[in-house]
Amino acid sequence: MLTGCGQGRARYTPDTLRVNIGNEPPGLDWHTATDSTSFDVVSNIMVGLTQYTPDVKCKPSCAKSWDISPDGRTYTFHLRDDVKWSDGKPVTAYDFEYAWTRLLSPETAASYAFFLYDVENAKEWNAGKLRDAARLGIKAVDAQTFKVTLKKPAAYFIYLTAFCASFPMRRDVVQKYGNRWTEAGNMVTNGPFTLQKWQHEYKIELAANPNFFEGAPGVKLIRMFMVPEQSTAFALYENDELDFIDNRSFATPDVERYRESPEYKNFPLLRESYLAFNVKKKPFDNVLVRRAFAMAIDKNVFPKILRRGERPADSFIPPALAGSAKDSGMPFDPDLAKRVLAQAGYKTGAEVPAIDLLYPNREDVRLIVEATQDQLKRNLGVRVNLVNQEWKVYLATVRKDAPPLFRNSWGADFPDPETFMNLFTSYNGNNDTKWSSPAYDALIETAETERDPVKRADMYRRADRIMCREACAIVPAFLATQNIMVKPWVKGIAMNPLDLQFFKTVTVK
């Protein structure tokens, strides 16, 4: 199919889907993987206790049902007896027990072990302080019953059972092949596809698993290429050498060209960009200054500059999640901004000392901070210096000693407001603003355990308002979007705001 001459060849192969995943997945071991490229592959070869529906609810998968104890701390999962590994062996509760214990084991050094820190004794075990695995809240009662005990009720816990890090794993396979157990030929999985070929840094081929318990998927073969350069990937799509592409293969001018095409689609993701203040640094130690800055930024400019259909954000919780409210953030109001700045002791913006705005060296981010600089100059008369750093240097700077103003973004790990709101608790390691509020912390802690969804949403709404409006620790900017192009012969592409790509429903005819 992919030979030299362009003319006269078929535009596609029936039952074969060709996609671009952009880069080499750092690893297909779902205990050590942490990135979306790896998860895009793992999500198609593995299933967990539950799985996400396209509207990111959890539905049964390996578990046909589950019971939650009255105190909300014990989950008992009842497994189906017809789920098989790709080598024919049944998937049992022991495979989950092994997997979760391995994820949490200090020797595995899994970055995402903390996702299970709500499990009883998990953190102590992961830190190496507890060596007795029997005291972990993880237990295979029998082959079909998997019991999890949490240290406190966690309303979002069920979402974690659909997350890659919590998928089952085969002890015998891992022990037999060691680090190489994820190579093609060694790997044993339970999902709609199996790993057939992995040419590192180039291509992954997934073959349909005819014995998948939900029935064989719609295509026989998926070829996942790793084309890093957007314009090359887009040219491959235009030349019918790829059937489906997303942001990774899309330069903004191409989005412009194809905006009206029936092959083009765009939808918001649960990833939000925001401007953050270091509230310990002048002049942002004064909440009035923070509010003035927030009100001087018109968020509608960001989508106009980035031109990928981004949505301006009015709150830190994205609209798709419970607790989101339009009035959680500060409104755009330049006149009021000037008056508030005057209250803070600066008669004009020129009196505010020039502010450094730090950002990582990336083209789209540069556009955002330039627009912010312009807005603050125009609407408030404040001078902003743009400071850029290479990505890892930027991360180290923000973590160690964040500058007064910096740009950041956060993507959801699971479809619940908790994934966003926990970020700004005083004890979260990712809260680089140095802002802390006992009222906010208390609301988040209560919301985590609250089982009434209405009450819970209300708590998150109040917390969002405290952070974005009353204390104004951050300025929500916009929600990122996913842009995709799909060839007319491809049907059934189901995208979701978590940006996970499931190809089991896709057909190529």
Partner: protein
């Protein structure tokens, strides 16, 4: 000749040791570490990761551990590509770069040297102007522009060559030409300058005076002698081309090792940075040894008494 090779191997060891030591120190001076990511990890997990890769040990101990492993030919593990060793990664990627770089090198020499010779022999005439226009173009236009241009013309408009990927010999044509472009241009300029200098030498005049034919003078006396500077740059050029090019691999989606010179640094993938640097150093030393041997064949004055 054997002495020369032996001498070079003996000299290479301290050089490689120095390269490894310097790289080991320099990459640890750069701010940001391998486990810094978008999402900050809890301290317990960072501690587990550091323990797994021995990064929790004092720096001198890490250095000794690294050197011990290096002595066994083990380049270490990648922190980014979690289950792969640096040896695995480079073993997968190097053959691809070697093929592509080898093709590009052959192209660069086969096009660049004759182009320079034609320019020198036709000095001031249209051949010279054309050849120098081409070589100035090749030197000044960066690879990513040439690559994009080729993709647009041959891949998208004419549709006679693939726009990228690494599936068949067809897929090698555009990347090889892109990679060869700038070195060919450079070799052409070098050959021209060198040949112009040689043309004025006494022995050339002698050759012409004793009635040698034009082609014999050109081939035996002018070209052979003007190749010395060309051979000199071929050493480093070979090492550069066969270890891959980030730009060419990136735009044509080729799984070579050139990308790691950039991405390993961006990821602070310490062992992989050291691995790529050392491989490059070894190849450079090897290529320069070949250059020294070639000198002796080309120019008797350079033969060192064994």
């Amino acid at each position: 000749m054997l002495t020369l090779i032996l001498k070079r191997i003996l000299m290479a060891l301290p050089v490689l040791f120095l390269v490894a030591t310097l790289s080991f120190c320099l990459i640890r001076v750069v701010p940001g570490g391998p486990f810094d990511a978008d999402k900050n990890l809890p301290d317990e997990i960072v501690a587990n990761l550091k323990a797994k890769y021995n990064l929790d040990k004092p720096l001198p101990e890490q250095y000794v551990l690294y050197m011990q492993r290096l002595g066994r030919g083990d380049l270490g593990v990648s922190y980014k590509y979690v289950s792969r060793t640096v040896n695995d990664i480079l073993l997968d990627a190097f053959p691809v770069s070697l093929v592509l770089g080898g093709l590009a090198l052959a192209l660069a020499v086969l096009v660049g040297v004759p182009l320079g010779a034609v320019a020198a022999l036709g000095r001031g005439r249209w051949q010279d102007t054309l050849a120098m226009f081409l070589s100035t173009f090749g030197i000044s236009v960066p690879g990513f522009v040439i690559g994009a241009l080729f993709i647009y013309i041959f891949g998208i408009q004419l549709r006679i060559l693939p726009v990228g990927l690494w599936e068949s010999p067809w897929h090698m044509i555009l990347p090889a030409i892109t990679l060869a472009f700038s070195p060919a241009a450079y070799l052409a300029r070098l050959t021209r300058a060198s040949a112009l200098e040689i043309v004025q030498k006494d022995w050339v005049r002698t050759a012409q005076a004793k009635g040698l034919s034009g082609s014999a003078t050109v081939l035996k006396h002018i070209m052979r002698n003007s190749l010395v500077p060309v051979i000199t740059v071929l050493g480093p050029l070979t090492a550069i081309l066969i270890t891959g090019s980030f730009v060419v691999e990136y735009i044509y989606a080729i799984p070579g090792m050139g990308r790691f010179f950039i991405t390993a640094v961006m990821n602070r993938d310490y062992d992989l940075i050291l691995g790529t640097t050392l491989i490059f150093a070894v190849l450079l030393i090897m290529a320069n040894t070949f250059v020294d041997i070639a000198y002796q064949i080309l120019d008797p004055r350079m033969r060192i008494s064994d």
